[in-house]
């Protein structure tokens, strides 16, 4: 029996083989969305937990990689939805080092804050399309939506970011 068929019937050894084949790729995708290595590890395990739980829905002739990426995207999106309520920035967030002083740091903080305050579905596309420069087609496939909807969400994310930045700048100016 083929590996994917064995997995679909609940064979744990087949699942382990698939896990070891795909864990790096799933982790790499998730870390681009959540931007925190520890959380990305936990979400990778959560993704494979969901994969194993819903194995009966997987067609052995289907594309496991695409299926796993879609589940990983949903797991990351669920995390962003919950994490958005806590607005603190993750410690391991990669920031661009800046040669100059306080003003540019203030600006960077404002951009960071605006980015982290984006609603989850917009932050997902903003991370992938604007920061990581993934193609709209890849994002669409991973999120289970059309490329046109990805484009719409990117536009809206940019609009929200622009408004947030304007209000944050106004806040700073009044201080």
């Amino acid at each position: 029996m083929e590996l994917l068929e064995r997995f679909a019937t609940g064979d744990l050894e087949a699942f382990e083989v698939l896990f070891r084949q795909h864990q790096k790729e799933v982790y790499g995708w998730i870390v681009r969305i959540v931007r925190d290595t520890g959380i990305a590890e936990d979400l990778t395990v959560e993704t494979f937990w969901r994969i194993y739980k819903h194995r009966a829905q997987f067609r052995p002739d289907g594309n496991f990689r695409a299926w796993a990426r879609r589940i990983a995207t949903n797991a990351a999106l669920d995390h962003l939805r919950h994490a958005r309520q806590e607005t603190t920035l993750p410690e391991s967030l990669p920031c661009v080092p800046s040669p100059d002083g306080a003003v540019s740091r203030e600006t960077r903080d404002s951009i960071n804050r605006a980015f982290h305050e984006l609603p989850a579905k917009y932050r997902l596309v903003a991370s992938l399309a604007l920061v990581e420069e993934e193609s709209y087609a890849d994002i669409a496939q991973a999120a289970g939506i059309s490329a046109a909807l990805v484009k719409v969400r990117v536009f809206r994310a940019v609009r929200i970011l622009r408004k947030k930045l304007q209000s944050l700048r106004a806040e700073v100016a009044t201080k």
């Binding site: 896990f19 395990v45 600006t107 951009i111 980015f115 903003a126 990117v154 536009f155």
Partner: protein, 76 residues
Amino acid sequence: MTNEEIKNMKELLNQAVAPVSDTALRRDLWPQMLSKLNEQPLPVFRVPWFDWALAAILSAVLIFFPGSIPALLYHL
């Protein structure tokens, strides 16, 4: 909104939020996966709450109005 505006926002974002350069997984996550599988056994069978509610309503109707049983059987 134009593509130019998106490009500008990309440049602005890149000043603060860098692309994740290191996406390599540092350790094997299988032991963690295995302990999760052992900790949380998969639910064997779950009945949604509204199915239980429907069953309760049907049972109540049959108990309190036994005359409806023939009508119910007729419609089945």
